[in-house]
């Protein structure tokens, strides 16, 4: 038996279950020899004939896959859409949360390094992206390799009820969502950073703008609320449109922020007025600063609540398909 054929048969049998090997080997060798002999009888030199026969049989791994019925792809058409949808959903939820979470943790541990925290957060987000991509694809690859079908996994067939609602153009865009998540992360970073860095300096020493006692409860509360707001923004983007439920949740979140902050401002528990010693803004500076801040919190909060309901109302009106696709 010639070397080239031996090597070919060995390569092909390697990935075939042992129980079938003997029979397939005997038949495959016979078929190759039949073909080579036929070509030699036709006047071809033996070595050339053997090479030609093996070339026609093609990659031995491909032949073995045909014998065993194994797929020559990682994820087939049956599972592809499930893989793609799951991956997209997980990436959209986990990557922004990893970004915000990383900033919060880094700023809590080391508030003096906002740039470092930002860089670390980008690193964490990229890490989350790569890990999700790898593990989700690996899991689907294994499911596919085992020959498991969608229906074995309990995934139902597609029905018209699964059709998504017509999207409202620009109602919840990806850009807006990313912007709000980054903005929230920035605010959290600012809150943590001002504790030691501050925006104002007096004789080279940072001046605290917010009262230190807020750290016992109210600032952690606000930071937790901001993280929830970021999650809300992502969920809203995934849903694609405002509903009255979203508007209600948005209202609750806004009130959870507005009411305590307004109360804290009214009872003078927010600002550390020591920073006023740095500047000369008049005797009643503390009262108008608190007043303007309270007005801003009130206006922005009410506008946010109203905006949610307005968008929900707009989204509840029918929209022609062409307009939705534009």
């Amino acid at each position: 038996m010639s070397t080239l054929t031996d090597r070919y048969v060995f390569a092909a049998l390697r990935s075939i279950p042992e129980a079938q090997r003997g029979d397939i080997e005997r038949e495959l060798r016979g078929s190759i020899t039949d073909d080579v002999e036929a070509r030699v009888e036709g006047g071809q030199p033996p070595a050339e004939a053997e090479a030609a026969v093996l070339t026609e049989l093609g990659d031995p791994a491909r032949l073995a896959a045909r014998y065993t019925g194994r797929p020559l792809y990682l994820i087939g058409p049956d599972l592809f859409l499930d893989w793609w949808r799951l991956l997209k959903t997980l990436l959209l939820i986990v990557v922004p949360l990893a970004f915000v979470g990383s900033i919060v943790v880094r700023m809590a541990i080391d508030p003096g390094e906002p740039a470092g925290a930002f860089g670390a957060a980008i690193g964490t987000a990229v890490n989350a992206l790569v890990h999700l991509g790898f593990w989700v694809t690996l899991a689907f690859g294994i499911i596919q390799y085992n020959g498991t079908r969608r229906k074995d996994l309990g995934l139902g067939a597609w029905t018209p009820a699964m059709l998504p609602a017509l999207p409202r153009k620009a109602q919840v865009s990806l850009g807006d969502t990313i912007a709000s998540v980054v903005l929230i992360a920035f605010f959290i970073g600012l809150l943590l950073w001002q504790r030691i860095g501050s925006l104002m300096y007096l004789d080279g020493e940072p001046v605290l703008v917010l009262q230190e006692s807020l750290w016992t409860f109210w600032l952690p509360y606000v930071i937790a609320l901001l993280v929830i707001e970021a999650g809300f923004a992502v969920v809203l983007y995934l849903a694609g449109r405002w509903t009255y439920t979203f508007a209600a949740v948005n209202t609750v979140l806004a009130l959870l922020f507005m009411v305590p902050v307004l109360w804290l401002l009214a009872t003078d528990q927010v600002f550390d007025w020591a920073f006023l010693a740095n500047v000369d803004w008049g005797a009643d500076a503390s009262s108008w600063i608190a007043g303007i801040t309270a007005a801003a919190v009130l206006v922005i909060g009410l506008w946010d609540i109203g905006d949610g309901f307005l968008k929900s109302w707009k989204a509840s009106r029918p929209v022609p398909v062409q307009q939705a696709l534009r």
Binding site: D23, G30, D34, D35, E56, L63, R66, Y67
Partner: protein, 112 residues
Amino acid sequence: MDDELLSGHLQELRRGTVVLACLSILKRPGYGYGLLEALDKAGFGVEANTLYPLLRRLEKQGLLTSSWNTEETRPRKFYTTSEPGRKLLDALLRDWEDLHGSIRQLNEGRQS
């Protein structure tokens, strides 16, 4: 006509007919390479790397039976269309005839 386009569609059209041809030819016992030649002569350009695994699949489905013939110079695995294989072939042939009739009807009177 675009050769690539034509060969693509011809390949699609002929995909299922290889099974039909195999079950037809193997009413009389045959072995791998012999069948490959017979199919080639009949105009089915099947590749060896498709045919050999296909024979095993049809055997696994019970449409072919096989036995080793060790009387000749080298042992060969002979396949024969089984009783279920013949029944399947009859069903496929009936469908083939129906398709042929339908397609002809669709094109009748439209020769140009």
